[in-house]
């Protein structure tokens, strides 16, 4: 025991020395890597998205958490990779975060109204046309408190996202848009996803229509508004974008209906109920006949080799 312990002690001492040496070596290596890494990263940063201010040095850290801005939590973390892959990946932070100051906390995030206003100004700086159309749309009217107090009015970033903004012609975005609209118009998304267009876009058929193909996007208006893409005057033109042969009757196709609801047109409701009833009755009779046949067969032992007839 003793010798073993002694030998072990000697080894432990030697090992401690060795370990200490190695430890310094590793520490030095890590420092070196960090230092060079930092320098290389800083150099890279200087050329890319986050620009010369290096915002992502802090805001690229997931542990940064969030701050409270006028009662709502504002996430401080910006995923560097997701940002670089976004449509704005090459823009410096301050191109959208206008009025940015080096104070801590940055003045702009301490006030929600200022924050929202800057966000709009930021989008407008490059996308003036879209912004102008938005301003004239129902959503824009809502945002100014014109229709329903402006509380839930969607702004640019509610539909487009912020740091992960995508090109709107990608399949991913065209698939996402249903869920984005659904955040406020949930029932409409459900009925849409139950149509051919909804199913096909879900399954990746790029050519399929989405919410915005019929309703419009920035200049979206209620269908009761004569300027709407789906107003009585414009409905057919909108359908003809993809279905050039369509005539007036085509517009009587209803996207947002629940066939088994009494709100649905009578013929749709009647056919839906007829089919549900038929499915129940047919399977009840077929199923009972089959089950009874199995019962009789089992009773006669005909499935398990006892053989014989009837």
């Amino acid at each position: 025991m003793k010798t073993v312990a002694g030998a072990a002690g000697g080894f432990a001492k030697e090992f401690t020395c060795l370990r200490r040496g190695a430890g310094f070596g590793i520490l030095a290596f890590i420092l070196l890597v960090l230092l060079t890494g930092e320098v290389a990263w800083a150099q890279e940063s200087a050329q890319s998205a986050e620009g010369d201010n290096g915002c992502l040095v802090c805001h690229g850290q997931e542990y940064l958490g969030s701050v409270e801005v006028d009662g709502a939590a504002q996430d401080l973390f910006v995923g560097p990779e997701a940002y670089e892959e976004s449509a704005h990946g090459l823009l410096p932070c301050a191109s959208c975060h206008i009025g940015f100051t080096h104070d801590n906390p940055h003045q702009m995030v301490t006030n929600a109204e200022f924050f929202a206003e800057t966000a709009r100004e930021a989008c407008r700086n490059c996308h003036a046309d879209q912004f102008e159309m938005y301003q004239q749309s129902y959503h824009g009217e809502l945002s100014r408190g014109g229709v329903a107090g402006g509380v839930l009015a969607p702004g640019c970033t509610d539909c487009h996202g912020m740091h992960q903004v995508q090109r709107v012609d990608t399949l991913e975005y065209r698939q996402d848009i249903q869920q984005i609209c659904g955040q406020c118009h949930g029932g409409r998304t459900d009925t849409f996803l139950d149509t051919y267009h909804g199913k096909a876009i879900t399954l990746g058929r790029e050519a399929s229509a989405t919410c915005v193909d019929c309703h419009g996007s920035h200049f979206i208006l209620p269908t009761t508004n004569p300027m709407s893409t789906l107003s009585e005057a414009n409905h057919l033109d909108t359908c003809q974008t993809c279905h050039p042969d369509a005539d007036e009757g085509f517009t009587s196709f209803l996207v947002h209906i629940q066939p088994t609801s009494t709100d649905a047109p009578l013929i749709v409701f009647a056919v839906a109920i007829f089919y549900i009833s038929m499915i129940v009755v047919v399977f009840a009779f077929g199923g009972i006949h089959t089950l009874l046949y199995i019962y009789r067969g089992l009773k006669n032992g005909l499935y398990f080799g006892k053989g014989g007839h009837h």
Partner: protein, 256 residues
Amino acid sequence: MAEATYPATGEERLEGAAVAETNVEGRDYYVRFSPYHRLSHFVMMTTFIGCALTGPPLKYSYDFWAQAMMGFWGGVENAGLIHRVMAGFMVADFVIHVLYLGYHIGLKKAKIFGPDSIFFWKKDLTDALGMVKWFFDRGPRPRFERFTFWEKFDYWAVFWGIAMIGTSGFALWFPTVTSTLVSGIFLNVARIIHGDEAILAIGWILFVHLYNSHLRMNVFPMDPVIFTGRMPVEHVKHDKAAWYDRLVREGKIKPE
């Protein structure tokens, strides 16, 4: 070898009387389905499977399996193409069958109601009641004629099914034609018919038709008659006693 065709006519019966049975492996067989019947069923079966594998992934687009299945077909457009090609052959099969019915009923004056007919008649009701009694051992198994009531039901389910699913399918395939001919709201109607009829058809085939034709006692685990056309005479006697008696009476098969 005589081919028992539907509906058998006087001439055919006489022809058939001479060589009404075929001997395979020491068993007497009766040719129940003509080559046309077998081909027609084969086309129906394969095109049905083709449609049933390409349609439901669209209907259940929100399910993970649907997305995997669409991936297998190479996307919605490929699956749609396969679905339409299959549907085209199925409808062609159906149209040829309607012509076949027209030929036999219209030109050859085949009887619409009778023992050789696929149309329902009074005996089907008594047979069905008899089956229920037999299931509970309260009576003998009905003495079936050429087509049992469940076989007739299978046939008419397909007949109705193709008419409905085919019409609604074309309506959805050519939406602007539909809206010009009738109205856009019929696209809503067609979608309900197409999807629900598919549930009926696939459910019926899986849980009723396959059971009735293959898993039923005495034929379990498979009855190849729809592919070979041939049915053991012994089987005819036990399964369709009234038909057997008639075939013996008509001199079409040798009594067992």
